[in-house]
Symmetry: C2
Subunit: 192 residues, 2 copies
Amino acid sequence: MALDTRARMIATAMRLFQRDGYAATGWRGLVDAAGTPWGSAHHHFPGGKEQLGVEAVALGSAGVLAALEECLARKPDVADAVQAWFAVAAENLTASQYECGCPVATVALETATTVPALGEACATAFHSWADRLTTALVEAGLPKRRAGDLACHTVAALEGALLLARSWRDIRPLQAAAQNVVTLIRMAQEAS
Amino acid sequence: MALDTRARMIATAMRLFQRDGYAATGWRGLVDAAGTPWGSAHHHFPGGKEQLGVEAVALGSAGVLAALEECLARKPDVADAVQAWFAVAAENLTASQYECGCPVATVALETATTVPALGEACATAFHSWADRLTTALVEAGLPKRRAGDLACHTVAALEGALLLARSWRDIRPLQAAAQNVVTLIRMAQEAS
DNA sequence: CGAACTATAGGACGATCGTCCTAACCTGCC
DNA sequence: GGCAGGTTAGGACGATCGTCCTATAGTTCG
């Protein structure tokens, strides 16, 4: 099955890119890890490694967004949903022995100023999360401007906390970030 | 002058590592950018690229810590100092055309689980900032536990905001993060 | 059956990687 | 002046990189 091979390559790329980075991950290591044929790499991704990177970032981005969506659906209160979102991130981190933090951040930092296509894919990913969060906060009654700022800060806090947690091999930064962000959201809700 | 060459190599490595990442930066590009002799690379860094990485991270870490220290010295109020710290980061980002965000974050994500020596150097860097911030918050009257959590969240917010700002080529995430963190600090001060 | 298309197989290719080596150069001290 | 140490010069070395190619196997439809 062709789709199976392609999808497996993208999924493996997402995992390796977030663990080792974009530059340090090669085609050969990728096809070895994915168990996919080395000969079809360029066939499935005629755009080369850059195309693979864009698709891997898109897949990771969609996964994080889906997790947020599910938290919002499960928890009627926005602050609770955000808390749950951070908990999912912490769970993924520990379950992977601190290998899988954010599927976008590593690639984003590596390619922000040097590989335009990848930089844009990462920027889009971050925007999609912040946008979804913004609408949720607006629906919770926050003024649009405050909702946007708070959503932006929430995404930043998640990313930074994931970075610290991965570096320290300790999920405490995620817990601290979640607690503080929840406080800010509750405060903003009361003020509106 | 020997020290001059070595120091220039480390400073250039710090800049290139944070722009392109650790894996994507090679010795040859480094000595070209630094204008230092290619033949002395291994002479000054017998530990190889890994040693260069550790020293570059240490230099970057010291720079960020020095900036925080200066903000704390200049502003008597902790919240004001943190605000100024974020402003310095934003200034560095725009002055470098969004190339220089955090000198540690890129390397940290790339090497957290794969290059122990570098991973530890990055963890130490983050800890040094959080520790300094914690003592400042304790001196401002916060209970130790709350000070630690807040310091951790502040560092995470700075890192995450730098990531978003670099990706979006927009310093607004840094401003939003600063504002929210300052709010949290002021609130904690009032509660104590 | 056989033609048309997609996927796999496996490797060639030049470029670049990090490491390491030897010869030359410089500077200061006997 | 001569000699020892640290520094620079420049490149060799094998490994690995991303890209691209031809040949084979599998599938789809006439």
